[in-house]
């Protein structure tokens, strides 16, 4: 009887120490992956704007949806304690100027919402709404991402 209890206790302790692996509690990795997905979704739109790719409203909307999902999750992936590690490109300004960062996130989310609401069906209609999103990307990156080449 006491053997089983000790074993359960041991297993419980082991799980407590390794739970971060199970819970996916690695914000640095998750936010990096999220941003990679955003970049992958941005590329076809950019290529359409540059005239390197045929316009496709379906692809555009799918990318907008990707942006929307990412922007909803992104802000929550910068808890205290995740400032460094795993080659993160998160600038200290994210924690030092949290209000500014939240503002940049809000700007991004608003631009994405507006784009989704617009449901552009032509390249001409896509240009302004996509442009606002790209402006938001750049605006946030300029202040809250470090270049570490």
């Amino acid at each position: 009887m006491s053997n089983m209890k000790s074993r359960s206790l041991l297993v419980a302790i082991a799980m407590a120490f390794t739970s971060p692996l199970f819970a996916g509690d690695d914000p640095v990795h998750e936010r990096h992956e999220l941003m990679e997905g955003v970049g992958d979704a941005a590329k076809p739109i950019g290529q359409m704007l540059k005239g390197e790719r045929d316009f496709d409203a379906g692809v555009v909307m799918a990318s907008f949806e990707t942006f929307g999902e990412a922007s909803a999750k992104f802000g929550g992936l910068f808890p205290p304690g995740s400032e460094t590690g795993e080659g993160t490109e998160a600038a200290p300004a994210i924690w030092e100027d949290r209000d500014g960062f939240e503002q940049a996130l809000a700007t991004w989310a608003e631009a994405v919402d507006a784009a989704i609401a617009a449901q552009p069906q032509t390249l001409e209609a896509t240009k302004p709404v996509a442009g606002e999103i790209f402006k938001a990307c750049k605006g946030c990156h300029d202040n809250y991402r470090i270049e570490d080449e």
Binding site: K43, K50, K138, D142, I146
Partner: protein, 305 residues
């Protein structure tokens, strides 16, 4: 007494050595008569202003940060550059008569920009990239003066630099210039008009080499590593290799480069970052042809890895 003769000989030797040194480090300037017969063009000067990135150093910081928008036209200086040589403080070049360059003659401005010499005959430190600006057509510098004259006066002189010894000996720059103030074009030339236009922008006003080219121990550019990447003078990290041989942009087309300079987006739709943000914002104000010219020049460079 023989001692006296030796002392006198020594004194004479020192005097001669000093005179020789003084002569070797003398400022070399352009005379007013050497200026070309060109009517300065304010509108053309604005193009040079953005290509030259004047605002990125000379616009007064706002709330401790680099100026944005219209504040970029307030050239009161004050930005501090923390370098291994000490702290450089960027001067006021607004049209203010007392605190800026409002009283300067055209030839004073040309000598500052292209010979690194002040109206008082003092050498400027090459943190002011006159070694690049020296390769600009003189007419472009004259146009730039017309544009600067039209910008608002900003009051306030900036404190002098705080440099360590021996960099604090300003006269020494005269010797440095004898080797490093070199007006000859760098990359091999002659491919096309577009590439030549790109050369003028990159090797001259654009002063791209000042960041993208490595330096030797005296702070001079290594011309045989032109644009092949260097330590970031403004902080940590490296400034990329932008020749066709580097891994940074070798896969980019000329159109990709031109688009990046216009929009700040790479072909993968990542955004420009770090010190290049200000440069890209300046270059976004140029014409599409100017950006294409820069791209064509970069694609035509000798590939260095």
């Amino acid at each position: 007494m023989p001692g006296n003769r030796i002392l006198r000989a020594l004194a004479a030797l020192i005097a001669v050595a000093f005179a020789a040194g003084w002569w070797l480090t003398r400022p070399l300037t352009i005379a007013p008569a050497d200026l070309p017969d060109h009517e300065p063009d304010r509108a053309a000067g604005e193009r040079i202003f953005w290509a030259g990135g004047c605002a990125s150093c000379h616009a007064s910081p706002v709330d401790g940060k680099r100026a944005k928008g219209d504040d970029k036209l307030l050239l009161g200086g004050g930005l501090e550059l923390d370098t291994p040589y000490g702290v450089f403080r960027v001067p006021n070049i607004s049209s203010h008569p007392g605190d800026g360059i409002g009283t300067w003659a055209l030839v004073d401005f040309v000598n500052a920009m292209q010979r690194g010499v002040s109206p008082d005959g003092l050498h400027y430190y090459p943190s002011f990239p006159y070694t690049s600006y020296a390769r600009m057509p003189v007419a472009d510098v004259m146009d730039l003066k017309a544009f600067l004259d039209s910008l608002p006066p900003v009051a306030g002189r900036v404190a002098p630099h705080s440099l360590g010894f021996p960099w604090s000996v300003r006269r020494g720059i005269g010797a440095w210039k004898r080797k490093y103030l070199d007006l000859t074009p760098i990359a091999p030339g002659g491919s096309s008009e577009l590439v030549e236009r790109g050369r003028q922008l990159v090797e001259g006003a654009g002063h791209c080499g000042e960041c993208h080219t490595p330096r030797d121990r005296f702070g001079g550019l290594l011309r045989d590593r032109w644009l092949a990447g260097a330590q970031n003078p403004e902080g940590k990290g490296r400034v990329p290799n932008i020749t066709p041989g580097g891994k940074n942009i070798s896969g980019w087309s000329a159109a990709d480069i031109a688009y990046y300079l216009e929009s700040g987006f790479t072909p993968e739709f990542d955004t420009v970052g770090g010190s290049m943000v200000a440069v890209q914002e300046n270059l976004s104000k140029l014409s599409g042809e100017d950006r294409e010219a820069i791209a064509a020049y970069l694609k035509a460079l000798p590939a260095l890895d």
